[in-house]
Subunit: 358 residues, 2 copies
């Protein structure tokens, strides 16, 4: 049996190092196409293990392809991964960090994280009413008594947010306070995050439907020249959730787990995060109150509307948010440039000229 969605899914990996971690993923990832976004020094060579089918973009490529619009893609920060979402020509994207390895389920079996994400994306979500037995579409589960029948068809799933065993995804203060905490709890569940509820989306182990939500998966301005880091995926998650709620799309979280091997340095993280720790106290209420009108009937229109609200409401907190609002607009322009019908052909030609494996 051919691997599911083999020709409809790209794996996007941001990296600054050689990709030996792919060896462990070989049985699961080898059939798929990889998009590697090389961060930092473009003259450095990133080694990719033999046999993988990939295209690789460094900063020079990003600048060449996007021209002045390249300003919306972060540098020296894994937020650069969203460039990979933009150049993908597939319906689905899975993105994973290069310090994430194959986890084992409680029976000791290797978890095919990608296969589980695909399963999550291909079955509906239930954001309008909570099901106490978790994902009702799963084998051996269903909707419980009292679940309205009119809601049992669910809504299309746009995002599958996977979790991490071993090193949990904590902020710097929590890392500092609990340096030895490890996540050993395997929770055998996938659930839909209810409509109206925001969540902290982590980009470490994340899959989504590009066609449904791609243009909202912008990881913001982080890293080099920016006052903040480590809020790239959070930013994307807040925007994505508000837009999914508006457009009637679902966001799932839970299984699959990956094995997160390496805690980042909490002191470095604190430096990157500390403005975010203050700002998020305003950003969350902002997103909880954000309104999208019924004219916002595409992801792009929703995203532009959000950018205007960011400029207007968050711009008061710090000039950074005005710059971010500009970048949100640039991101949509760049997305549309690369993803219009015409551009798809030229993109293909361009992709063919890239360094390729296999």
């Amino acid at each position: 049996m051919a691997p599911l969605l083999k020709d409809e899914l790209d794996i996007v990996i941001p990296t600054i190092r050689n990709l030996e971690f792919l060896e462990m993923w070989r049985p699961f990832f080898e059939p798929y196409h990889l998009i590697i976004v090389q961060d930092g020094d473009p003259t450095r060579t990133v080694m990719v293990p033999e046999g993988f089918d990939y295209e690789l973009y460094n900063r020079n490529d990003i600048n060449r392809i996007l021209g002045p619009k390249a300003s919306c893609i972060s540098f020296k920060d894994s937020a650069c991964r969203c460039f990979g979402y933009m150049v993908s020509k597939k319906k689905y994207v899975y993105t994973i960090d290069d310090d994430c390895f194959v986890a084992k389920d409680p029976t000791g079996k290797d978890i095919d994280a990608l296969a589980k994400h695909i399963q999550n994306l291909l079955c509906p979500s239930t954001p309008l009413f909570f099901n106490t037995l978790y994902d009702p579409y799963q084998e051996g589960a269903d909707f419980v008594r009292g679940y309205p029948f009119s809601l049992r068809e669910g809504v299309p799933t746009a995002v599958s947010h996977g979790l991490w065993l071993n090193i949990p995804d904590y902020d710097a203060p929590t890392q500092l306070v609990k340096p030895r905490e490890r996540n050993g709890r395997y929770v055998d569940a996938v659930m839909t995050i209810p409509k109206g509820s925001l969540f902290p989306m982590c980009g470490m182990n994340l899959a989504f439907d590009r066609e449904l939500i791609g243009p909202a998966m912008y990881f913001g301005l982080m890293g080099d020249g920016q006052p903040i880091g480590r809020y790239d995926d959070m930013w994307a998650g807040w925007c994505v959730k508000v837009i999914c709620d508006h457009l009637g799309l679902g966001v799932k979280t839970g299984l699959p787990y990956i094995w997160h091997s390496k805690a980042s340095n909490p002191f470095v993280n604190l430096k990157k995060e500390y403005k975010g720790i203050f700002w998020q106290e305003d950003i969350i209420p902002f997103f909880q109150a954000a309104k999208l009108t019924k004219e916002c009937d595409t992801v792009q229109k929703c995203y532009i509307s959000l950018s205007q609200q960011v400029r207007e409401k968050l711009g008061k907190i710090d000039p950074y948010f005005t710059k971010l609002a500009d970048a949100m607009v640039t991101w949509i322009e760049a997305w549309d440039m690369l993803n219009s019908k015409d551009s798809k052909d030229s993109k293909e030609a361009d992709a063919n000229s890239k360094l390729k494996g296999k």
Copy 2:
């Protein structure tokens, strides 16, 4: 070590049969006080195993204690259990069905469901923002990166909704379609149901804080003389969730599991449920849209306001809802009658005159 909340929690059990099921629960329940609400024929004797400390109420007792207000307590339906919530003098209540047995965790150990409910009730809930690693207060877990620090204190937990292994709590149509489905999935998680999201609350394995939410735990008019059954706990759950959201209280679901031994008859259930299956399509949007003003600053005031909205909005669907709205008011009157400062002394005297074990 004394059992937690030994003198602050009552176990409420509705029944029509002898309570042999308590034998299996003896190690966990024996230290606690039981309130048994005998449904159906009051002349029948319900046998309670030796050694349990209990009070028992049959229909004659309910009529005697509540007088004309007894009309709000259902007859020939396990909805009668809410009479037990009303006469309890404790801060916490745990209610369980008499076909529920001790479940085992994946290591084969007996699950002390009551202890886990108590743990759930004694630590806060997080309805305002979703935590992807589930209950952040649990050993080995915490708030993940991106969770606003201002929300990490949480809110008081009013309800702990436990789940069921073996026979899942399905409606009649699902029972008919999947007669052999069993729930074997042990999901090792407790989570807060986000603010604004309704859920199907099952009364089989349920704990709550009477002081925080007791007056909203009304199981409605079901059974004898009513056009509907099996929506008692659902009704309570919808009211409770709307009121908890308004008052800033939390509702948790997940662990602990009990072992649900016996599927009820799907044909009988269909007869009880079928009006509810239609009605819930209107009831859910009703509760999703229900508004409580800031004058509603107690559970009682919230509940009376809901009863007015039920009369006004749902009364149009069927005269049953007008009768239910009346009963909601009667329930609050009865609650206040038994739970005012003065009434507590007389209730104690009354309780002392009841049949008692041990």
